[in-house]
Each structure stands twice: as C-alpha cells, then as structure tokens.
Subunit: 330 residues, 2 copies
C-alpha cells in the first residue's frame, strides 16, 4: 500500500500479487491498483464503478476537491450518502488512470471484466473489508459488478448494475470493432492520436440518442473547399481530441476489447440484484437488460428510464438515477 512513483493527491495504491493471473491467459507482473475512498472509514462500504473513462475519483470531497465523474450522485446528503457510507472506487487495470496499464508502444495482456473483479477482491482484502454493503456499477463498471457478484458472492450484499449487460450486444460490438480498427490503423501509420480522437468521436456518436443529437446539431452543412462539414462534427472532434489528450491508444484498445469480450452467465449471480436500463440506450438496449433480468436467480427489481441521453443517462439523469440508488440502498 505504498508507491515508489509520484501519485496525485488522494490516490492510494494497492499492490496486487506479484504474478496476478488473468482469466483469459497470461499474468500481470507487479501490478497495482489506484483507489480512492471517501466517507467514514468504519462505515459500510459502497463500491462505485463507472464507464471505461471513469476512475477512482467519483466526486469531490475534503481530500480531493476537484470534480469527479459522478457529482450529484455521491456525497454528503446525496443518494449515495458519504455521511453514512464509505465510498470506494478504483482506476481500471489497463486504463488511463494510475493503475497498471500499457505504456506507449507496449504490448499488454488481455484484461477481462473478470480480472477487474478479481483485482477489486484483492483491494477489499488489503483494506480488510470482508463484505461491501453494495456495489453500484454503470456501463463497464456494471459489467465488472456482475462478474464480481458471480465470483465473490460472499463479499457483496447487493448489486446495482446500471446500463450493463451480461454480454456485449453485437450492435455495440460492431461499432467498437470499428473503433479499434481505426486506432490500430493509426498505430501502424504513425497517426495514433488522430485515430484515437476519431474513434472516440465514433463512440460519442453512439452514447446519446438521435433525438438529443437532432435537438443540438440540426442545421445546414458548411463547405471548406470541397469538404463538407456538419454541425455535429465540432462536438465529435472536441470530445475526441480531449480523449486523445488523456488516453494512450494502447489503453483504449485494452478497455474497449475488455467490454466486447465481457460474458457472464446470469445463473451464476446469486447476489440480490437491481438492474436499470435506459430507453434510448443504443449500446445496451433495454430488451437485453430484460433478458439478463429474466435469467438472474435473485433479481430484486429491473427499472427502465426513458432518456434522451441514451447510454449516457447514467451520468445525466440525476433525479431518476438517484431515486433508484435510494431504492437499492434502502
């Protein structure tokens, strides 16, 4: 639980076993997990996990004051109340945070959602947390939550998986396969950063709904010489460039593939489960979440929320999602 490297303030580091075996073959050698806690140390623990670009810093608190990725959901008096719960989160293995991840040009073993779940189990052991009160995971974090509940049922009292299926949908995988193809082409041609921005633009084009994009980006094309430019492109380009500034292409490839290979048998998940799906989600369509629900042996509730934000509703529909969080934690 100490680091030889310089870490940002508030980050704690948990060393995984020197040879950390991976579910699909290979090992991670000398890996560590960056995590963050807020709330009373002796309170019941809620693990909060988000999408591939979410990390250990869930929301602002005394020790780490910058905004987190789930502001308004987690904090004192919020739906996940840090006066009552100790909130724990970590950076994904292989991702752009402070956990072990590929460096530029480095080949890296495949890290599955099972491996993220196993790493979380190690983290809990290191922190002497036998069992968490709840694991709340959205998107990729929900996939990891499903794996965790399947593999370590004795360590989690309840699971809330938001916009997270038991396996990736072929429609979503098709879009992500193209994203990886773009980044691989970029790596081979020395244009990885540009390719990564383009791939992230494609991802952004799948996170929302046609209705939301129409509301924001209707309007005529403009011309730059013979090149046509659409209003929506400024948004895709800006979000893409931001992402390419923070991520290495190898890290994106690692987590993007991890999503697509995700697969867990719902029958193996005995933990009490709550599920949420968003009507309009193009990546995790509600019928798929309903199928997961129908196959869970210990389903408590499956909720559907209509949202113009599509898959991103877990970040944007604060009131609706907070109400569900309160239901799960009641």
């Amino acid at each position: 639980m100490s680091a030889a490297i310089t870490l940002p303030a508030g980050v704690e580091l948990c060393h995984l076993p020197a040879q950390f075996p991976l579910a699909h073959g290979g090992v991670l050698a000398g890996a560590s997990l960056a995590f963050e806690r807020q709330g009373p140390v002796d309170a019941p623990v809620v693990v909060v996990l988000g999408g591939i670009s979410a990390g250990r810093h869930v929301s602002a608190h005394r020790a780490v004051q910058g905004p987190g990725w789930w502001e308004g959901f987690v904090g004192e008096g919020q739906a996940i109340d840090t006066a009552r719960y100790s909130v724990l989160s970590f950076d994904w293995l292989g991702g752009a945070g402070c956990s072990t991840a590929p460096a530029s040009g480095e080949s890296f073993p495949f890290v599955g959602t099972e491996d993220q779940a196993a790493a979380l189990a190690h983290l809990l052991t290191a922190l002497r947390i036998e069992k968490v009160a709840a694991l709340v995971g959205s998107s990729y974090g929900g996939m990891v939550g499903l794996q965790f509940a399947a593999a370590f049922p004795q360590r989690v009292a309840r699971l809330f998986a938001i916009a997270a299926p038991h396996e990736s949908h072929p429609q979503a995988s098709a879009w992500r396969a193209v994203q990886r193809g773009i980044v691989e082409l970029g790596l081979r041609t020395g244009t990885a950063s540009e390719a990564l921005a383009l791939a992230r633009g494609l991802a952004m084009a799948t996170y929302r709904t046609p209705g939301e994009l129409a509301d924001r980006f209707s309007g005529p094309a403009t011309w730059q010489g013979e090149r046509v430019r659409l209003p929506v492109q400024d948004w895709l380009d800006a979000r893409g460039a931001e992402f390419a500034d923070r991520w290495l292409p190898e890290q994106f490839l690692c987590l993007c593939a991890s999503i697509d290979a995700h697969r867990v048998d719902p029958a193996r998940i005995a933990v009490p489960c709550w599920l949420a799906a968003f009507v309009g989600d193009q990546l995790v369509p509600p019928p798929q979440v309903r199928e997961l629900a129908s196959r869970l042996p210990n389903l408590r509730a499956v909720r559907e929320v209509r949202s113009r934000y599509g898959h991103d509703a877990f970040l944007k529909e604060r009131l609706a999602v907070a109400a569900l969080l309160r239901e799960v934690l009641a």
Copy 2:
C-alpha cells in the same frame, strides 16, 4: 449519346452540357451520365433510384442479364411492371459506376443531390421524355427524388421517397462524418483501401437493427494473441473489403458528403408525394419522415413498416415495399 470509352454491355451514355454548373459552386466539365432502360420504350416512364451503391442496373432483363440491386421489385409482372412501364435508372455522378466520377488521387467538385436531380433532368430531355409517370427513390435516391420534384415539378407526376428525408439526420451525419474521417486518414497515410473497408464496415453497422445483428452474431469473442475478435467482425470485414474492391476512396467521399449536405425545403415540393419509413431505421428515423410528411403541400400517404432490416429494409422487405409500390402506381 455515344461514348469514346469502352462501356459494359447495355450501358448508354448521356453527355451533360460541356460546362455543367453545380449547385454549390464549381462546374463539371465534359461530364456524362451512364444510364440503363428496360421495358417498352414508348411506355410511361418510371425512374428508379437507390442508395449510393445502387446504380443504373436495377434488375435483370433481356439486354443486361446479371442481377440488379432491386431484383424482385422491378421486372415483368413485378410491382414495377416492365410490361407496362419503361424503367430508367442511372449511375450517380461521383460514384463507382460509369458516370463521371473522380479518378484515383483526383480532386473533384462537390456534387449535391440537386446536381444529381439536374443531371436526371438533362437525361430526360436527351431521351425526349417530357414527364415521368413516377420517380421511385430509396435512401440517397429518395433524396435526389425530393430535389427533382422541388426543381422540376412539371416533369414528374408522382414521387415515392422511401427511407429518404429532407435533410440528413445529425445522428446519421455523425456516423458518416467518422466514415469520411477514416477514409481521409487512410488517404493521407497510404492505407486508403483498408480505411475504405473500415468505413464501409461502420456504414454496415448502421444499416440494420440491433435485433437483426443479435440474431445473427451473438456468441463469444475469440482471441488472436491479445486481440479480441467478435463474431460480427467477419461480416463487417467481408462487406468492407467487397466495397473497397469496387469503389475508389474519392468516390465514396464524394457521395457520402453529398448525403450529409442534402437539404430541401419540403414546402417547395408541390408534386403528389408518397413516403415510406422503416421502424428500426437508424439512419432515417420514422419521426423525421413524419416531419417531412407534415410539411409536404401535396402528401398522398406516409407509410411505416416495421423491419428488423432497418435502413436496408428497402432492399429486403420485398412484400411490404412491393405493396406500397403498387399503391403508388395504381
């Protein structure tokens, strides 16, 4: 109406005016339009236009026996009956057929849907066809049909626009902007063919519905070393490679941009119009077609057909679309 270059059998060529002015600036010099006719020459004319990858050869007939892109819809005894109608179609300017289009490495002016419509008007004049009985256009062909009806109302008795809006939807434009970005990256890095295949894979990923892809491509990932491969990728790759064999990247860029810049004021379209939309179409969502319908001064009917084939339903839902064709031509 003669060509100095060698053309495939059955192709006829119509020379456009030596300086053919383009709606958004520039001219096409010495351009020509490749077209094909079937059915009795003196019968009422139905113009049939399809997507950007559809061309002059609509269906097999005596003079050109290979299969066309709309087999089962057009022919003797079919919904568009070539015993009763003379069917006319042409290759898009800028596309992969035999009409004028960019060569490899060639810069080419922007060709709008207005320009395709103007070219069709020239073709009709050259063929001494004053007015067509119907223009039936699907996808890009429907966009061109809307422009034609707006610009040349005296030359078309009825318009049937299938899965074709008055302007591109920002959701669809977002996906296509990424496709052009991929191809432009490929052109700059000497990997244009590979990039074009990838871009076409992305297009394929938007043509169908999540349900159809789930039915065909559910199944676990496989690994090639550390690289994950999904069942859906074989299909994307195969369709992409086929496309890249037939198209130059410059031609794809030309027509892809033409779709996105398409914009016509429905109030200008006085011709009797029939519209069809497909529930499940991710590129031309039915609400957009309903909006077009509500703004057309001479709407005869707007029909919605639920299809697991999404945008591709105009190619796949033979019975439903044939019934609509019979209604329009009755």
